[in-house]
Structure formats: structure tokens, C-alpha cells
């Protein structure tokens, strides 16, 4: 019998078999898929609400004209960059709202739950901070030969790092008139070089989906990009190409 079994008969037998296969019970995925889609939608909504909240908080006619999102960061074009409510005083961590000071990168890493990358060209930072609500680690480098001061004479470079999560940004940037945004390659990664007139920079409250208004400040030239699971930002007075090289050398 089987000697005469040709491919066509075999296919018919398989089709018959298909009707009798006992597959594992099919789960009902609708509710779970719905919840995950809702979470995504809320993530997008939070970003837009934050833009609106900034407008209200600073009493300006901020309107989002252009919107661009990296993983873990947002960049919005606004007709006027709002001014910070007040200039904080005190040490550098307080003035930049960087959070708690840590004695080493390793200790900050333990608090943050991820290992920050360190620029090979600069070595270990002079100071390390971790801001819990934004889950942002900041490495501070003081000016030194080869690393000129930014507009702040106490700062040579700030390297800020957070997990780059879609729909849950850590960094927000507001681009006003006179600020240029240029797409650049940082090694194999795509990033943005933001330069020209100072731009607004703030930290989102990742846990609560809001924004930390106290963190809004005006920033000088900065590079921002994603690498692996992180969103990274370098603010320095080195200029575009040297800052990109610094970013490429993070390890």
C-alpha cells in the first residue's frame, strides 16, 4: 500500500491529519495586548502632556512645532525657550539639579541599576551624581588642559546617562530660535548635535511620568544619542567633532 503512496496521497493524508492535531489550548491574548498598547499610548501622551505642562509652568506661549524622540529623550522645537524659574545656588550638583553625590562611578552604578559608560579620553570623573527621579547618572569633569571650560568656568564636560526607554524619556530638550539641531553619527549610532543659542534642558520624572521643573536650565552645545540600552548626553565646550570623538570613546 505504502509502496504506491505518491507525494500527492501523502499530502492528502497530512491534510487529514491536520484536522485531528491536538494543539495546546489557544490563550486569549486580547486583554494583555490591550494593556500593553494602552501603556504605549500613555507613554506618548505623557510626552505631549509634559510639553503642555512646561508651557503652563513657565507662563510662556510654548507650542510644540516639531517633535523628535530618541529612546529616552525628547527634542521639541518651540518658538521661545522658557527661562528657568530661578537660578539655583550652591555647589555644582545643586546648581545643575544632578541629584545625590556619589564617591565613585561604581557606587552610582549600584544606585542606578546600570553601569554608566566612562569616556576613555577623560578617565574617571571628578564628581559623580545620580538623580533618582530621572534615573540619570552624571559624570562631571572639571576644566583641565585639553578640556576647556564651558560657559560655566567650573565645568569642562558633563556626561549624562540613563536607560533609553521608548515612551519613558529621561531627558527633555527644548529647541528655540537660534539653536541648530544636526543629525550626526556617533560611531555606528545615530545622534543629534545641538548647538548655537542655549537650549532648554530638563529631566523627566521617570517614575511618575511627569517632569522635574526644578531641573530646567539653559544648556550650551550638547551631543545626545542612544547606544545599546542607554541614552547619553555630553555637554562640553569642545565643539562638535571633538565631542563626537569623546562620545565614540565611551567604554
Amino acid at each position: 500500500m505504502a509502496d504506491q503512496m505518491d507525494i500527492h496521497r501523502l499530502e492528502l493524508r497530512l491534510t487529514e491529519l491536520a484536522r485531528g492535531i491536538e494543539w495546546p489550548p489557544t490563550p486569549d491574548l486580547r486583554a494583555r495586548v490591550r494593556r500593553r498598547i494602552d501603556r504605549r499610548l500613555r507613554g506618548g501622551l505623557v510626552v505631549m502632556l509634559v510639553a503642555a505642562a512646561i508651557a503652563l509652568a513657565f507662563g510662556t506661549q510654548v507650542a510644540v512645532a516639531h517633535y523628535l524622540q530618541l529612546r529616552g529623550a525628547t527634542l521639541q522645537s518651540v518658538p521661545a525657550v522658557p527661562s528657568p524659574l530661578a537660578s539655583p545656588t550652591g555647589d555644582l550638583g545643586r546648581r545643575y539639579s544632578l541629584g545625590d553625590h556619589y564617591d565613585s562611578v561604581a557606587l552610582a552604578a549600584r544606585a542606578a541599576g546600570f553601569t554608566p559608560l566612562v569616556p576613555a579620553a577623560l578617565g574617571q570623573p571628578d564628581d559623580v551624581y545620580y538623580r533618582k527621579d530621572g534615573r540619570v547618572v552624571t559624570l562631571v569633569y572639571r576644566p583641565r588642559p585639553g578640556l576647556p571650560a564651558t560657559e560655566d568656568p567650573q565645568v569642562g564636560a558633563l556626561v549624562m546617562e540613563a536607560r533609553g526607554q521608548v515612551g519613558r524619556p529621561s531627558f527633555g530638550k527644548l529647541q528655540g530660535p537660534g539653536t541648530g539641531v544636526e543629525e550626526v553619527a556617533v560611531g555606528r549610532d545615530r545622534g543629534f548635535w545641538i548647538s548655537g543659542a542655549p537650549h532648554g534642558f530638563f529631566i523627566y520624572d521617570v517614575g511618575n511620568g511627569g517632569t522635574s521643573f526644578d531641573s530646567l536650565r539653559l544648556s550650551g552645545d550638547a551631543l545626545i544619542w542612544n547606544r545599546g540600552g542607554l541614552v547619553l548626553r555630553i555637554e562640553s565646550g569642545l565643539g562638535r567633532d571633538a565631542t563626537i570623538r569623546l562620545g565614540e570613546g565611551l567604554a
Binding site: 501523502l10 486580547r30 490591550r34
Partner: protein
């Protein structure tokens, strides 16, 4: 391949406009084929459940790039196939789904004699045993095409192969399956 009912075009269009309830209807319609396809590729019902869920969420996120007049099922199955193959690779195991035939299955129209029924059951068991004895890639292509009854295009999408490779692999796999069955029936 048969055309897609107009109703589905409308559902897809609504989902593309952000109607989550419409998308839920697509999830309801295609969960079974997505889950079974993922079972076949991952070899695990638990992994398949995760894979199908991830695939539906990714398909939602990518809906803006999907042409509303294109058939939804092959597109979804391509995403399921990608997810499932990634999951299988990441798990680093070569699990095989254990398939069974339902007891008391009657495939002929007329009521068969008890002897004929027993013989048919035996042949089905032999066929299934032979199928599960095939190498992984042969078994997968036959199972996709004949047990899940996917089109050649869908099978190619799920397994990440060109359609021509699916056809040639299927031909070779059926030949091997026939060879395996010969001693049993000879």
C-alpha cells in the same frame, strides 16, 4: 490565495486610525494561527504565548507602515516568525513541539467499521511518528504547510526563507517522510 473579506479591510483601516477596539478584533481572529505558528517554531507553548503577544504589540506599533489593502495574516505571521526565531535563538535550545492526534477522530464521511477506524488511527499515529522523526527543518516546513495549512508565501515568511527554498525543501522533506513510512506499511 483567496481574497480578504471587505470587513477585514475596514477593521484594519480603523485600527490604523488608532481604534484599539478594532485592533482587538484582529487579535481575536488571528490569535490561534499566531500562537500555533509560534508553538511550532519555538517548540514551547509558554514561549509561544509570549511570542504571539509580542508580535501583536509590534504589529500594532508598525500598523502605520502596513498597507490597509494588503492581507493582514501573512504580514502578522512574518512578525510572529521573526519573534519566534529570535526567541528560539536566544533560548539556545532545540525543543520540538510534541504533537498529538485527538482521540476518536473520524475523518471519513461515512461511519467506518471499528476495524477500519482502528486501522485509520494506527496510520495517523504512524504518520505523526514519522513526521516527528524528521530533521528539524524538514518537519517545520511540512508542519507549516500541511498541519498549519499556511500558504507557501506564509511558510516562507514564518521560517525566514525564500519561497523557492520552501518549495524545494518541502519536496525533499515529503520524499523523506514517504521513505520513513515505507517500512511501516511495507
Amino acid at each position: 490565495m483567496e481574497g480578504r473579506p471587505l470587513e477585514e479591510t475596514e477593521i484594519v483601516e480603523r485600527a490604523k486610525r488608532g481604534d484599539v477596539a478594532a485592533y482587538e478584533e484582529l487579535v481575536r481572529r488571528y490569535t490561534e494561527i499566531a500562537f500555533r505558528t509560534a508553538c511550532l517554531v519555538t517548540g514551547s507553548a509558554a514561549d509561544a504565548e509570549e511570542v504571539a503577544q509580542d508580535a501583536f504589540v509590534k504589529a500594532w506599533a508598525a500598523l502605520s507602515r502596513f498597507r490597509a489593502d494588503a492581507p493582514f495574516r501573512p504580514w502578522l505571521l512574518q512578525i510572529v516568525g521573526n519573534e519566534a526565531r529570535n526567541r528560539r535563538r536566544a533560548a539556545g535550545r532545540r525543543a520540538t513541539m510534541e504533537l498529538r492526534v485527538a482521540e476518536g477522530l473520524r475523518v471519513s464521511g461515512a461511519a467506518p467499521s471499528p476495524e477500519a477506524e482502528a486501522e485509520a488511527a494506527e496510520e495517523r499515529a504512524a504518520l505523526l511518528y514519522a513526521l516527528t522523526s524528521l530533521p528539524d527543518e524538514d518537519r517545520q516546513v511540512i508542519t507549516c504547510r500541511h498541519l498549519l495549512q499556511l500558504s507557501v508565501e506564509e511558510t516562507a515568511s514564518v521560517l525566514g526563507l525564500p519561497e523557492g527554498t520552501v518549495k524545494s525543501r518541502l519536496h525533499r522533506a515529503l520524499g523523506r517522510l514517504r521513505q520513513l513510512l515505507e517500512p511501516i506499511h511495507g
